[in-house]
Subunit: 369 residues, 2 copies
């Protein structure tokens, strides 16, 4: 068990930004809101999964919607808490723990905010080990936890409860449609899990991993080291490409930010080209010959060449000098059954075989605390 | 108090079809399902509003979605009951009565089906006195009953609860979006009212009115009288036009069936023309010079010239010989505050003033039983 303080929040923000693989939104705002809570004397307690009792009652909270929305209208900050309370009222029981649904991007810091607001401990782990665009794309759903009951809350405090739809794809469609009507962004709380179910399905220790990743990047910056190398040191994986962004196409489709980014090589990649497709998150990286260099569920992270600052899809623009990293997905995402949810075909790349990037997720992290 | 038997169901079906003003869907299927319930020994008890105790707990059930959907995929018949039970579970109390939300079209017989299934009495009245395309367009909402909590249930038994959104326009948007994802049709249960609130807001005796209207039409048919005149005898109002349909344009927009129908005059209207716009229901009738002959909230009913069989917007087609009737709206829909919800401007006809058709809704009905 440990407590997240202000420096830890900053490290988590940086680590979670990188793990967002271009999407998941920016964790900055959630960090600021969580920091306000800390300054008001509230605490954020992190407990490892194996410290969670079997009969604990756990849910996940976060935001649903295209990240670009939160730039135009930031959340109020109480959407996640409202969703959690609405779900509690619906089931007639109180939650004992919060677990992040996705450690990548903005949904890393929102559960910390809700934990501070509610006083509930947050579990060190998540359901993705990264970010994904759709809510069924998490280990909880892949392992058969029922998707509902689930709750959404909007900016005005209006709530919507979904029930009896055990298929997460149905929840995804229904909740996405409501989220669009809610102005493109909503707080969610789902699923309802026991502690035993959580322990069976969670990707463990990913808050600590994000924290350590952010810490390694900050250390490398402070010591004039190589922050990009520091990312690979902690996470495992390879540098796919180095270059300059030459083109970005973006469109908002059905509540998702979809698009492509093209990068012209520099340094060792001079003369080469890399094109990355994204749907909120980066999905596939192909070189100039169309050869696949990396594909979901492996993490494709675009970071600043010098600082390793994560570059999310909504801030991609011509001229940015970037490094593209390919990081092995957590083992739980690489199984045959998981790939049906989050492999290339689940994103419409029917003809692309999943070739895992060698190595293990977070291989270089000091995973104990 | 009276019980609806099979002949009464048939009369209600015909009357409600006419009161549907072209929309609201076809009450036929709901009648068949309710008839099955009667044949299985269940009862449908109708109570007048003034017999409802002040502390009764009332909700309305029916179907949401474009009527054309139910032709392609009929409802199962338990959607309305499922929505009601989900709403009960959410509020933690049991309903004592059901009231129809709209007496026009398919939502006239669905509450009767749910009444038979649940054993709850149905209140003789409704919130529209006709049909309208959006759920905020009822007297319950116009008079300030909170729109939520509200429930939807789909074909598969999946349920969605909306809460804390007191503005019915918000519920309309959220519920409509979910309904589209539910395949275009859903059962609803809303609002939650006390008996006192019901009595203050309901348009009374409209089940009886639909019944008597249908009975008058059937009598006229059986006695070789004039069924179209029989409609006007019961309902009040005027014959706007007689002719042959020459053109129908239809499109499905945002879950609504929108379009226009053109009618070329015959008999006394020879040489004339009438054009009617609809959004599920008929909204405005204009002659060849563009002059408004009738407009919402007054009822514009297209019926067969000979039989007075209602012709709903989804079965409009070239060559049908029709009479178009203009029937005065219930007084509760004609007030200045009601017109903000269901007057011409609420449907986008900003420049059209509401000129009431002379007379009173249901003026010729024997309103006592």
């Amino acid at each position: 068990m440990w407590h997240i303080d202000e420096p830890a929040l900053e490290r988590i923000e940086i680590g979670a930004g990188i793990l967002g693989t271009g999407g998941g939104g920016n964790p900055y705002l959630g960090r600021l809101m969580a920091r306000e809570q800390l300054r008001a004397g509230r605490r954020i307690t992190v407990v490892p999964p194996d410290a969670v009792p079997d009969d604990a009652l756990v849910t996940s909270v976060g935001g649903m919607g295209a990240p670009v929305i939160s730039i135009e209208r930031p959340p109020r900050g109480d959407e996640y808490q409202h969703a959690l309370r609405a779900l509690e009222a619906h089931i007639g029981r109180a939650f004992t723990h919060i677990v992040p649904g996705e450690i990548g991007g903005s949904n890393s810091t929102r559960p910390l905010l809700a934990a501070a607001q509610t006083g509930l401990p947050v579990i060190d782990g998540d359901g993705m080990g990264r970010a994904f665009p759709e809510l069924q794309m998490c280990t909880f759903m892949m392992e058969g936890i029922p998707a509902t009951p689930a709750a959404l809350a909007d900016y005005n405090g209006y709530t919507v409860i979904f029930d009896r739809a055990t298929d997460p794809r149905v929840l995804e469609r229904y909740a996405r449609a409501v989220t669009i009507q809610m102005g493109g962004a909503a707080g969610y709380a789902f699923p309802v899990m026991t502690g035993a179910e959580l322990k069976r399905t969670v990707i463990p220790r990913t808050i600590t991993l994000a924290h350590d990743l952010g810490g390694a990047v900050l250390d490398a910056r402070a010591t004039h080291g190589d922050p990009v190398a520091a990312v690979l040191d902690v996470m495992g994986g390879i540098r796919l490409f180095t270059g300059k962004i030459t083109d970005v196409e973006r469109r908002l489709v059905g509540g998702f930010a979809r698009g492509e980014v093209s990068i012209a090589g520099s340094g060792p990649d001079e003369g080469g080209q890399l094109r990355i497709d994204f749907q909120n998150e980066n999905l596939i990286a192909r070189d100039g010959d169309g050869r696949v260099r990396a594909v979901v569920p492996d993490l494709i992270c675009i970071v600043d060449q010098e600082t390793a600052a994560p570059i999310t899809t909504e801030v991609l623009r011509y001229g940015l000098r970037v490094a593209v990293l390919g990081i092995p997905a957590p083992g739980q995402l690489r199984t045959e059954s998981a790939l049906r949810f989050i492999g290339p075909a689940a994103f419409g790349y029917e003809d692309v075989a999943y070739e895992p990037i060698p190595g293990a997720y977070g291989a270089g992290a000091a995973r104990a605390r």
